[in-house]
Symmetry: C2
Amino acid sequence: MTLKDKLLMEALRQFSAKGYSGTSTSSIIDAVGASKGGLYNHFPNKEQLFREALSLARKIWREKNLRGLDHLPRPTDKLIRLLENYRDNYLTDTLNLPGGCVFVNLAVELGEEFPHLGREVHEGFVRLRQMIERLLHEEKAAGTLGMDLDTGDAAELLFTGILGVCVVYSSGKSTATLARSIGALCRYIEKMRL
Amino acid sequence: MTLKDKLLMEALRQFSAKGYSGTSTSSIIDAVGASKGGLYNHFPNKEQLFREALSLARKIWREKNLRGLDHLPRPTDKLIRLLENYRDNYLTDTLNLPGGCVFVNLAVELGEEFPHLGREVHEGFVRLRQMIERLLHEEKAAGTLGMDLDTGDAAELLFTGILGVCVVYSSGKSTATLARSIGALCRYIEKMRL
DNA sequence: CTCAACAGACCGACCGGTCGCTTTGTTTCC
DNA sequence: GGAAACAAAGCGACCGGTCGGTCTGTTGAG
């Protein structure tokens, strides 16, 4: 693995756990046994290192959370799989994301210090919500979801629920609590099906 | 208002928006027109200033979110009122909490840098969840909630939903989205009632 | 006069970032 | 094939500036 990759992974680890301001370039360098010059050969400044670490985080998010969704024909099965992925592959990926979901953890700090990055993360949230609502809408159109269900409200519950789960897990790091929360969300989905 | 109070309020404002590491004592001092001596006359160090700002935040949380709950006899009405308070009095209190819910925003950063403070915040989360489940349990015991409802699962949905709402609002600061999310949670409560 | 409250100069440590140097790997020429 | 020439990667001392925190001096109320 190249130094750049090692620096990016370590940066993501530390940023996700300690925030942007709380992470110094020196501590990233020390952790991978590199030097200032080595880091600044690959990144013009700390902010760019952070941007690329966020890109890596987006890639990891997709790889972990969307895994196995395309095999499943039923939209609500995709949703349940997404939740299980959050529980089994994403949030508990202590190698890459020891601090939990970096987008949830840094949403605020970013919005204040780098408004543009904050907006990007916010748009990611919006897309997740839209994806959930689209899946619910698909299944409703297929007629297996109960005609009285408000897919917007249900999407809202699932979406905010997922983000809340990320907060609780980041705060307490309890896999038992994580499993209980994800389980409650999954059962909510199962109950809305006919 | 005394200098100490002004410093505490300003500290809470900045900590909630920029995090602990991202906020310097100097910027707090500048914002209230004070001096280093003035601040360190009242607080032995930055960490203690932060601890007392968190205590202030807990007081504000109770004042804003529990307002008017005791008049309401029906437990689920209390829950709906709590959600409305989050929407109308707490999250949108731009004077004290321009960054949104400080507990949600700092849950991660704290756990890593001040494990003890992180645990305190986490315990606050657990208490909120317990309060929600207790209210649901009360109403279920009163027989107006449907015997097949799993109060643990419902509490989980509402609890993680509230935290998720805090994240989204902190990230986007959209009152329209906030109203929609809170509305979805309220309708979820109303639907579970007989 | 006294003493707590406050102001602000000051301190060492650490921050993000630069720069000159060494090492390493690749290309080129014979 | 092998050595010279070059470019890129990596290193670490160093820079100005800011951090949290200290200390001395001033001030104003009782």
